[in-house]
């Protein structure tokens, strides 16, 4: 489900089935690194949108957690998101990012951190983009299945 009114209504009606929050972690900057940061952001956006389409009934794709790119990523603030969503019934948290800074944080202790190197998708046709994202998302599927299985013990 996406950040859309229709999906929010569906979520509220079917809450018990939607237990996974997907949160893209998206740095912002201006200046000389901007193109690179935007490129990664675009990749993460397509990646998470593809993921959402495959698992729309169990996954809620939130708007990106957006922050200014510095060495110190705002993990406390992310934790607040997680706590709020946990209180509302989400059980699994998937943080998806190309920003390597998150690997040195505790994000993995209150959710699953999936770090993936981005590449440019700028010149891809729709069909090629879909194929590419399918392959990229495949890398995440085992992690997600494990995450889901761990609960159905």
């Amino acid at each position: 489900m996406k950040w859309k009114e229709k999906d929010a209504a569906m979520y509220l009606a079917e809450k018990e089935y939607v237990d996974t929050a997907v949160i893209p972690l998206m740095p912002v900057t201006a200046g000389k690194d901007m193109q690179d940061v935007v490129k990664s952001g675009e990749f993460i956006r397509y990646f998470t949108e593809y993921l959402e389409r495959q698992y729309a009934g169990r996954v809620y794709l939130f708007p990106a957690f957006t922050y200014i790119k510095t060495k110190q990523v705002p993990e406390e603030q992310l934790k607040h998101w997680q706590e709020l969503l946990r209180e509302e019934g989400f059980n699994h948290f998937l943080f998806i990012t190309s920003d390597a800074s998150w690997r040195r944080t505790s994000a993995d202790s209150f959710g699953e951190l999936f770090w993936i190197p981005a590449f440019s998708v700028e010149n891809m046709e729709v069909q090629e983009l879909a194929k590419t994202m399918e392959q990229q998302v495949q890398q995440l599927v085992p992690l997600m299945m494990d995450m889901w299985q761990s609960e159905e013990k």
Partner: protein, 167 residues
Amino acid sequence: MSEKNHRVSRRQFLTYTLTGVGGFMAAGMLAPMVRMALDPALEASGGAEFVSVGLSEDDLSEEPQRVDFNVEIVDGWYTSEQSRSAWVFLYEGEILALSPTCTHLGCTVNFGTNEEYPDQFFCPCHFGRFERDGTNIPGTPPTRPLDVYDVEVRDGMIYLGQINQRG
């Protein structure tokens, strides 16, 4: 500028704005009505055109095959190409093209990915299952069969049209 003037101008501003918005909304509502009145065919087709999926009739077997193709989607104020998929195969001599969207809450189903049920469509989200012809299996979350695409064969090639609900 005097206080009085200021108030008037603010009220005028609001009036203009509201008229503007109202007019805009009325135009938005009228436009489709006018279009429908002028061209009923636009409505009847449901907007879905038949698109080729790059598969010929001879490529089909009883084994469901996934095909990917593009359709035009209007989302908010963007019109964009989006990829779509279908499972296409022969079922009792007819061409069947099923939508991969689970009728429970919309995850994407795959064929034969659950080892225990190799001859069924399987939804990984809440373990929904469907028979080969798309019929939902009682006791799993989906409550209606997978949707079907309209199918057309033109010069031996498969074309898919709009998606229809069953059951």
